[in-house]
Subunit: 241 residues, 2 copies
C-alpha cells in the first residue's frame, strides 16, 4: 500500500523535525515534506534528534508554500486537537487510516498526505481550508496538548496497525472516478477566486480572506474527481459569459 | 476502572521523566513511580518538560528499589523491544490493556503497573525477572527504538482506547481467588532463596544470580494468589524438615 506523506507545516524547532523523522521511521513512514520551517533547511538540530532516522531527513523535501507541497497529493488530512469553526469533516484516527488504505487500494496512484501544524499555534485557518478531513486523536479532554512528534507517532502507530491488519488484497471496484490531484483543485480554486474578484463578488477586502477559506473548504470537502473538476471549470466559464 | 501505575526504572534524564508525565496525563494516567532516577528526585529538568503535567510529577513517588516500588501492586508489565531469553509471556499491547481492565473489573483492589527501563540500556535481567508479562509494541522491525516518552505514550494511548471502548459493566465472576500483592510474592521468593542457600542449592556463587532470576520468573509467571502463596510457603516449610 502507498504510505501517506507526512507534511510538517512551519515547524519552529529543528529538534522537533528530527524527532518526527524518528517517529515516522518507527512506524515505517519514510516520506517527509516540510513547508517553510522557521530555522531553514537542512537543519543540524534535526539531525541530532533523529537518532538513526537520517534517511528520512535526507530524503525530506522542503517547500515554500503548502500549495506546492500538496500539489501532487490527492487527499489531505490534518490532525488537530481544537474544534474548528469551518465545516471540515472529522474522522477518528483508526477510521482515517482505513480510508487512506481504501483509497490507495482502489487507485495505486492515489497519494494521501497528513499535515501537522507548528508547535505552539497549530494550523492556521488558511492551511485548514486546504484540508479534506481532520483526524481526531481522542486524548484526555482535560489535557490534550500533544507535542509534535507524539502526534506524528500516534498517527503512524495507527497506520502501522492498519497495515498489519490489512488483508493481502481488497476489492478494487470501489472507485470509478479518478481522484483529482491537489494541484488541479488549487488551479480551479485560484481561478474561481480570480473570477469572483473580477465579478465584484467580494464586498470588502477585510472579509475576503475568510470568504475564500470558506469557499475552499466547500470544494475541498467535495473532493471532486478530475472529471468533476472539468465540469466545475465549465460551470465557471459558462457563468462568466 | 483502576488505572495502571507507570514505573520508570533508573531513568537517566529528568527531561525524559517530564515528557513521560506529559504523555501520561495526555492519556489520563496520573500515578507515576520512579525507581532510583540517576539525577535524583525532585528534578527541575523534569518540571521544564512536563508542560502542564506538574500534578503528575508532584504526586510521583520515588523508591530506591524496584521491589519497594511494586510492593502493593498485583501484576507487573514491562514494555521491551528486545526479545528475552527468560521465559516470560508476551502480549500485544491491545491485549495487555484488556487484561489490565479485566483484572481491575474482577477485583477492585487489583493494581497493575507497567515498568519502563532506562533510556539507553533497557531493563536489566534482574528487573525483568519481577515482570509477569511483557508488552509487545510492534514497530517497524528495521527501526524499532522508541524513546521513553513515546513508549509511555503508546501504552497510554492503547489504555485510553480500551477505556473508551469498555462497556459500563463487565462480568465480575471471572475471579475466584484473591491475587497476591507483589510484596507477598517477593517475601516468598526471598524466603525461598534463603532456604535454598541454606540447603546448599547454589553450586557456585557465579551462577547464583542467573539461577535466582530464573526461579523468580517461574513463580512470577505463575502469578500465585494469596491462598496459593500460603500453600507454597507450606511446601517450603515441609520440604525443609
Amino acid at each position: 500500500m502507498k504510505p501517506p506523506i507526512i507534511i510538517l507545516f512551519k515547524t519552529q524547532l529543528g529538534e522537533n523535525i528530527g524527532m518526527c523523522a524518528r517517529a515516522m521511521l518507527n512506524c515505517g513512514l519514510k516520506q517527509l515534506r516540510l513547508v517553510s520551517p522557521r530555522d531553514g533547511w537542512p537543519n543540524q538540530s534535526a539531525k541530532a534528534t533523529a537518532a538513526d532516522a537520517d534517511l528520512v531527513l535526507e530524503n525530506a523535501r522542503c517547500f515554500e508554500t503548502l500549495e506546492a507541497a500538496i500539489s501532487d497529493c490527492h487527499t489531505l488530512y490534518a490532525t488537530t486537537a481544537r474544534p474548528r469553526a469551518q465545516q471540515i469533516p472529522s474522522l477518528p484516527v483508526a477510521t482515517a487510516v482505513k480510508k487512506i488504505q481504501v483509497d490507495a487500494d482502489g487507485d495505486r496512484h492515489h497519494q494521501s498526505a497528513v499535515l501537522f501544524g507548528p508547535e505552539a499555534s497549530g494550523l492556521d485557518n488558511d492551511a485548514i481550508s486546504r484540508v479534506d478531513t481532520l483526524i481526531h486523536l481522542p486524548m484526555n479532554p482535560e489535557f490534550n496538548s500533544l507535542n509534535l512528534a507524539q502526534a506524528v507517532l500516534l498517527f503512524g502507530w495507527e497506520w502501522l496497525r492498519a497495515e498489519n491488519e490489512s488483508p493481502a488484497s481488497t476489492d478494487p471496484q470501489s472507485h470509478s472516478l479518478t481522484a483529482s490531484s491537489k494541484k488541479e483543485l488549487i488551479i480551479f480554486l485560484d481561478r474561481l477566486e480570480s473570477e469572483l474578484e473580477n465579478a465584484g463578488f467580494f464586498l470588502t477586502p477585510e472579509l475576503r480572506p475568510e470568504t475564500v477559506r470558506k469557499l475552499r473548504a466547500i470544494f475541498t470537502r467535495a473532493s471532486p474527481s478530475e472529471q468533476e473538476l472539468c465540469m466545475l471549470h465549465g460551470i465557471v466559464t459558462s457563468l462568466k459569459k
